[in-house]
């Protein structure tokens, strides 16, 4: 986890410097010094004052922290890895701990986004499948219903009724799961990212509707997608299964939003 000091600054990322009262590292005490934490919160350096001007230019230890690193705070004392640091105040210790816990929380946010996206994906892709089949039924009812009959559980039902019944049940189930997943994920994702997920889901649903109706130039839908940070062309939307691609393109914006919500939270 830790690297021996290399003498010069290794980290080029912007760092936050915190004055420390004392530090203990490998059973040795260091009175005064600086604790530098990089912006990403995954690297810290312990530096010692140098000379009469007290320039903090000797690096005692540098740690690259994994997202699951245990960070403990007790008053002004911060314990992380083999390092125990007493900062100037409990508030400073809390701020550093918050910075150091950010990678874990970002990882968690990415996990939550992926989890919620999975349930949204199941719902929207089921809906896409249903609308694709209904589109084919409009054009070639016999061929489409014949092909879908293999998935039907009730051979005595009217084939079109059976299609509606099967897909309505699947949609209702996946819709409930999606709503539950969105509600459950909101605490971790934050209101902003959750609202964005709802907006993306609804917009993709509207894209599906427009493709099903077949008479739209998709201009409004493309503009709405752009507003949501999803860049697509009409040609891309008219490919066989655009939903999965739309969700993939929405992912970075959602993760970024969830991360921002973590920063402010």
């Amino acid at each position: 986890m830790s690297e021996p000091p290399a003498g010069a600054d290794a980290s080029e990322a912007p760092a936050h410097d915190y004055k420390l009262v004392s530090a203990t590292y490998q059973d040795r005490e260091y009175p005064e010094g600086v604790l530098a934490v990089n912006e990403a919160g995954n690297e810290i350096e312990l530096r010692r004052w140098m000379g009469k001007t007290k320039r903090p230019d000797i690096v005692i230890a540098r740690f690259h922290l994994e997202p699951n690193t245990d960070v403990r705070v007790d008053g002004a004392v911060l314990n992380v890895s083999e390092l125990s640091v007493t900062l100037e105040s409990p508030a400073a210790a809390g701020e550093v701990a918050d910075l150091l816990r950010r990678p874990a929380r970002e990882l968690e946010a990415a996990r939550l986004v992926t989890e919620v996206e999975a349930s949204v994906g199941v719902f929207l892709e089921t809906r896409e499948e249903a609308l694709n089949l209904l589109s084919r039924i409009k054009v070639d009812p016999r061929g489409a219903l014949f092909a879908s009959a293999a998935r039907s559980t009730d051979s005595n039902a009217e084939p079109l009724d059976s299609v509606y019944s099967t897909y309505s049940a699947r949609l209702a189930e996946s819709l409930q799961k999606m709503k539950a997943s969105l509600a459950g994920g909101e605490k971790g994702l934050g209101v902003g990212a959750t609202d964005m997920m709802y907006a993306i889901t609804y917009a993709i649903g509207q894209v599906q509707n427009a493709l099903f109706e077949g008479d739209s130039d998709l201009v409004q839908e493309l503009a709405a997608l752009r507003e949501l940070g999803i860049a697509m062309t009409a040609q891309e939307l008219r490919t066989k299964r655009p939903t999965a691609r739309l969700l993939v393109r929405a992912h970075p914006a959602l993760v970024s939003l969830a991360t921002s919500s973590l920063r402010s939270g």
């Binding site: 409009k138 051979s155 949609l171 999606m178 509207q206």
Partner: protein, 347 residues
């Protein structure tokens, strides 16, 4: 639809175009769970052919029911594996439910009109009629066994015809001999015989499906369910002279026995150039008065074509028992030794 806090509804976008507030999508998720209703277009005329795998017909849908090496179902074909020594009853026992399912899947009841073209000597014709529900606007073109057919063929044909009658379908019957002797001229391919000739004749009837169904259903109301037909395909003035001659000539070659004078109804469908309509209509009146004075109903229907050659198809309403009498002995002979092959055994 998503709404802003001020209640303005908007389908797309993040901000309300009226007041600029953020839209809320949370309450609009349920509308994505509803699927739009579709009304599939199954077309106007559906044809189901049994025992005629080579028919070439122009219809919105043509489905074939036939025996082959193995079971194979597609949207246009219901093929069953041949049963060695199998009677119509064996096929019905084995395939009735499967065929009912197939018919439901291909939306047999969804077209406006249905035409069943049956070789009634084929055991699958009984299966097809058993599987077909009682549907309005459904007519049967039946090629029927005749005195030259074997008792087994006569039995199958008799059962199939009886089943069609029991289900209330109007029938146009052609004997196997009539069908075998059919020979028509086609402008694009010359002379047509066998399946090609039947396709050519059916082509004319399908071209006038509305009128055909209308005439057959009118006859049904008069209690006339069974019909015979006669036809001139690709007729011309140079061959028949005046139109009255054409009407008279074709009436000597009916598709099913019986005398024209005994017919209860008579209807002619003419497919010709517009300018000849008046002559054909007048000639139909002469034809009717000369040979069918006692007919309960007689109607003339004209269909304009571009061809200089004309088609003339006349449909004669007959007494039902007349159609069955030639094949009744064969039917009885089989039922005498195999009682399960009686009409009552067919569903």
């Amino acid at each position: 639809m998503p709404r802003c806090p001020n209640g303005h509804a908007q389908r797309l976008g993040l901000k309300c175009l009226v007041c600029g507030e953020a839209l809320s999508f949370r309450d609009s998720m349920d509308e994505l769970g509803d699927l739009p209703k579709v009304e599939p277009n199954y077309g106007k005329v559906a044809v189901i052919a049994v025992g005629y795998p080579r028919l070439s017909l122009k219809a919105d849908y043509v489905g074939e029911i036939s025996a082959s090496l193995a079971d194979l179902n597609t949207p246009n074909a219901f093929e069953v594996a041949s049963i060695r020594g199998g009677s119509w009853l064996d096929y019905s026992k084995k395939y009735l439910e499967q065929l009912r399912t197939w018919m439901r899947l291909v939306g047999i009841g969804k077209s406006t009109d249905r035409l069943l073209v049956l070789d009634t000597s084929d055991p699958l014709s009984v299966l097809a009629l058993s599987a077909l529900p009682k549907l309005e606007h459904t007519a049967v073109i039946a090629v029927v066994a005749d005195a030259d057919s074997t008792p087994v063929e006569q039995n199958t044909s008799y059962v199939a015809l009886s089943l069609a009658l029991r289900k209330g379908f109007p029938i146009i019957a052609l004997t196997e001999t009539f069908e075998g002797d059919m020979l028509y001229f086609t402008e694009d391919r010359g002379f047509a015989v066998e399946a090609d000739a039947l396709s050519r004749l059916l082509g004319s009837l399908l071209g006038a499906a509305d009128d055909l169904m209308d005439l057959l259903e009118r006859d049904m109301k008069l209690g006339v369910q069974m019909h015979s037909l006669s036809a001139i395909v690709a007729g011309s003035k140079s061959v028949y002279g005046i139109a009255t001659n054409a009407f008279m000539a074709q009436s000597y070659d009916l598709s099913m026995g019986g005398k024209p004078e005994e017919c209860q109804t008579v209807h002619s469908l003419v497919f010709a150039r517009e300018e000849s309509e008046a002559e054909f209509e007048k000639s139909f009146g002469v034809f009717r008065n000369r040979k069918f004075k006692g007919a309960l109903n007689a109607e003339f229907r004209f269909h304009e074509t571009a061809s200089p050659l004309y088609d003339l198809v006349t449909i004669y309403g007959m007494r039902t028992e007349a159609s069955l009498q030639d094949i009744a002995p064969g039917y009885q002979a089989i039922v005498g030794s195999m009682p399960e092959l009686s009409v009552e055994g067919a569903s």
